[in-house]
C-alpha cells in the first residue's frame, strides 16, 4: 500500500504519468482516510465513492494512452458544500436546503473537472458559511485533527480538515471574513483568498456578495498556485517580473490594532517567524493602516445586511430550520439602517486606500492569521491578557479587513504552539495574486520553520 505522496500536485501528476502509482490508488488512499478518520472529524457531508472510483479508473486509462487532461489529472479534490455539483444537493450545512438538487456545476467545479480533478466529496462547514468555528452545522460540528476537542476554524472547516488529514489532496473553500484562512491556520494547511472577483462565484451559495471570495486550501503554496490558476482560468505559472527579480522581499508589519490583542504563544511564534525571514534575507518594516481599528464596525454594517438580504425569504418561511446562532445573526442584519450600510461602504474606500498605501512601503504585509490558538469546542469567549472577547470577533480580527478591501491574502503554516498549528498571513496588492504567491513560494520554508 502506498502512502499519500508528500509532494506537490505537479510532482504527483508527473509520477502518475510515469506509472509510479495510479490515480485509483491515490483515490483509495483518500477514501480509506475518510473511512478511518471522518467518523471522528466529521469533515464530509457527502462522499462520492462510486463516482470517484469510476473517474479515477478513467483517468488511469487515459494516462496509459498518453492523454493528460490537465494539470490536475487524477487528483482527488474536495469542495466546501457551498459549491454546486450537478445532480447533488448543495446543503450549505443547513436543514433549510433539504431537497435541493443542483442543475449544473459551479463554474469553479467545471474548471476543476476540465483540468482533470476528481471531485471526491463535499465538505462540512459552518452553516451558510456564517461563522468561524465550524460548530453550527446541520451535519454536526467538525473537529480539529490536531486536537479533537478544539475547533478546526471556519467556515471552510471540513475543507481544511480534509486536506490536513489526507482525505483529499486539495480543497476549495469560500472566504467572506476569513473563512479560508482561519481554518487553514487552525489546521496547519495553506489557504489562499485571491483578489476579490478573480474567481467567479457562479454556482456558489452567496453569503455577502460584495465580500464573498472562492479559493483553495492545500498542503503547499505550489499547490495553492496550481489550484488558483485553474479556478481563475489563468495560464501563467509565475509573475514574469518576479522570475527575474533579484532583491529580497520586504515585509510590512501593521502593528497597531492587529497586535493590540494577541495570545502570548501566538505572538512568540510570530516573532520567531520574523527572525527566520530576516535570516533568509527578507527585510521587515513597520507600516501603518491608520483606520484598521474601524474594520469590525465597517464589516458588521456591510456583512450583516447583505446576508440578511440573501436570506430574507427563507427567514420568513423556514426560520426554525436554521441553527439558532446563525438565524439570530441573520435576523440582526435586518436592523442595520440603509444609511449605515452606505456609510460603511465609504469606510471601505478609506480602508482600501490605506492598505494600498501601506503596500507602497513594502512588497507584502505580514501578520498572524489568528490572534489565538484554536479554542475548545463550545467556547463563546477567549481571554487574551486581561481582555475577554468573543471567539467570533477574535477569529475575524486579522482577516476580515482584506475581505472588505479585496486584497489577496494567503495563510501559511508556521509551526506549532502548545501542540497546535499557528498560521502566518501574507497580503499582496490587488490584482497581483500571482506576485503574492511568488513571494509566498520564495519564503515558504522560512515561514514553516
Amino acid at each position: 500500500m502506498i502512502q499519500v505522496p508528500d509532494t506537490p500536485i505537479s510532482t504527483i501528476v508527473r509520477d502518475l504519468y510515469r506509472g509510479k502509482y495510479s490515480s485509483s490508488e491515490l483515490v483509495e488512499l483518500c477514501l480509506s482516510a475518510i473511512v478511518s478518520q471522518d467518523p471522528t472529524l466529521n469533515a464530509f457531508i457527502a462522499v462520492f465513492d462510486n463516482e470517484v472510483r469510476t473517474a479515477a479508473d478513467a483517468a488511469d486509462r487515459a494516462m496509459a494512452q498518453g492523454h493528460i487532461k490537465g494539470r490536475l489529472h487524477g487528483i482527488p479534490v474536495s469542495l466546501k458544500d457551498m459549491l454546486d455539483v450537478k445532480g447533488v444537493a448543495t446543503t450549505a450545512a443547513s436543514r433549510v436546503r433539504l431537497g435541493h438538487r443542483a442543475t449544473r456545476d459551479a463554474v469553479v467545479v467545471s474548471r476543476l473537472r476540465a483540468a482533470g480533478a476528481i471531485i471526491i466529496g463535499k465538505c462540512n462547514l459552518h452553516e451558510f458559511a456564517f461563522g468561524t468555528t465550524g460548530e453550527d452545522s446541520a451535519a454536526g460540528p467538525t473537529r480539529n485533527p490536531h486536537d479533537h476537542e478544539r475547533i478546526p476554524g471556519g467556515s471552510s472547516s471540513g475543507s481544511a480538515v480534509s486536506v490536513a488529514s489526507g482525505m483529499a489532496i486539495a480543497s476549495i473553500g469560500t472566504d467572506t471574513g476569513g473563512s479560508i484562512r482561519i481554518p487553514a491556520s487552525a489546521c496547519g494547511v495553506v489557504g489562499l483568498k485571491p483578489t476579490f472577483s478573480e474567481v467567479p462565484c457562479d454556482g456558489v451559495v452567496p453569503l455577502a456578495p460584495t465580500l464573498d471570495h472562492v479559493g483553495p486550501l492545500t498542503r503547499t503554496v505550489a499547490d495553492a498556485d496550481l489550484l488558483y490558476r485553474t479556478i481563475s482560468n489563468k495560464s501563467t505559472a509565475i509573475d514574469p517580473s518576479m522570475a527575474q527579480r533579484k532583491e529580497e522581499t520586504s515585509f510590512g508589519i501593521p502593528r497597531s490594532y492587529f497586535f493590540d490583542v494577541i495570545d502570548r504563544d501566538v505572538g512568540t511564534a510570530f516573532e520567531h517567524t520574523i527572525r527566520r525571514l530576516e535570516a533568509a534575507g527578507g527585510t521587515v518594516v513597520d507600516v501603518d493602516i491608520p483606520h484598521a481599528s474601524d474594520t469590525p464596525t465597517i464589516y458588521l454594517h456591510t456583512q450583516l445586511p447583505e446576508a440578511a438580504m440573501q436570506h430574507r425569504k427563507l427567514l420568513e418561511t423556514k426560520s426554525d430550520e436554521y441553527c439558532p446562532g446563525v438565524r439570530t445573526r441573520l435576523e440582526l442584519g435586518r436592523y442595520v439602517l440603509a444609511q449605515d450600510y452606505v456609510l460603511a461602504q465609504q469606510g471601505r474606500q478609506v480602508l482600501t486606500k490605506e492598505v494600498d498605501d501601506a503596500l507602497l512601503e513594502c512588497d507584502v504585509l505580514l501578520l498572524p492569521t489568528l490572534p489565538i490558538l484554536p479554542p475548545r469546542l463550545g467556547s463563546d469567549t477567549v481571554t487574551v491578557g486581561d481582555i475577554a472577547d468573543s471567539v467570533r470577533a477574535l477569529t475575524l480580527r486579522m482577516t476580515q479587513l482584506f475581505d472588505l478591501t479585496g486584497h489577496p491574502a494567503i495563510s501559511l503554516p508556521s509551526g506549532f504552539a502548545k501542540g497546535l498549528p499557528v498560521g502566518t498571513q501574507l497580503v499582496g496588492n490587488r490584482y497581483q495574486t500571482s506576485t503574492l504567491l511568488s513571494h509566498a513560494t520564495r519564503y515558504e520554508d522560512s515561514i514553516r520553520g
Partner: protein, 64 residues
C-alpha cells in the same frame, strides 16, 4: 430618526420575540453603529471634500 430612537424600536421588536440573544446582539450593534457614526473619516467624507475648490452641497449644510 436619531440612532438611539431607532434602537429603542429595535429592542422593543426583539423583546416581542422574547429573543435574549438577539437583544444582546442588538446592544453590540448599537455600540458598533455609534462607532461608525463617530469615525473621523465619516465626518471628513460628509463635510470636508478633499478638493477645497470643489463645492460639495449636502442637505445638512445647504441654506435655501
Amino acid at each position: 430618526m436619531q440612532i438611539e430612537n431607532w434602537f429603542v424600536h429595535a429592542k422593543q421588536d426583539a423583546d416581542r420575540q422574547d429573543n435574549l440573544e438577539l437583544q444582546s446582539l442588538l446592544e453590540m450593534l448599537r455600540v458598533a453603529t455609534s462607532l461608525l457614526h463617530d469615525a473621523d473619516w465619516c465626518t471628513q467624507v460628509e463635510l470636508q471634500p478633499s478638493d477645497p475648490e470643489r463645492h460639495v452641497a449636502t442637505n445638512e449644510t445647504e441654506q435655501t
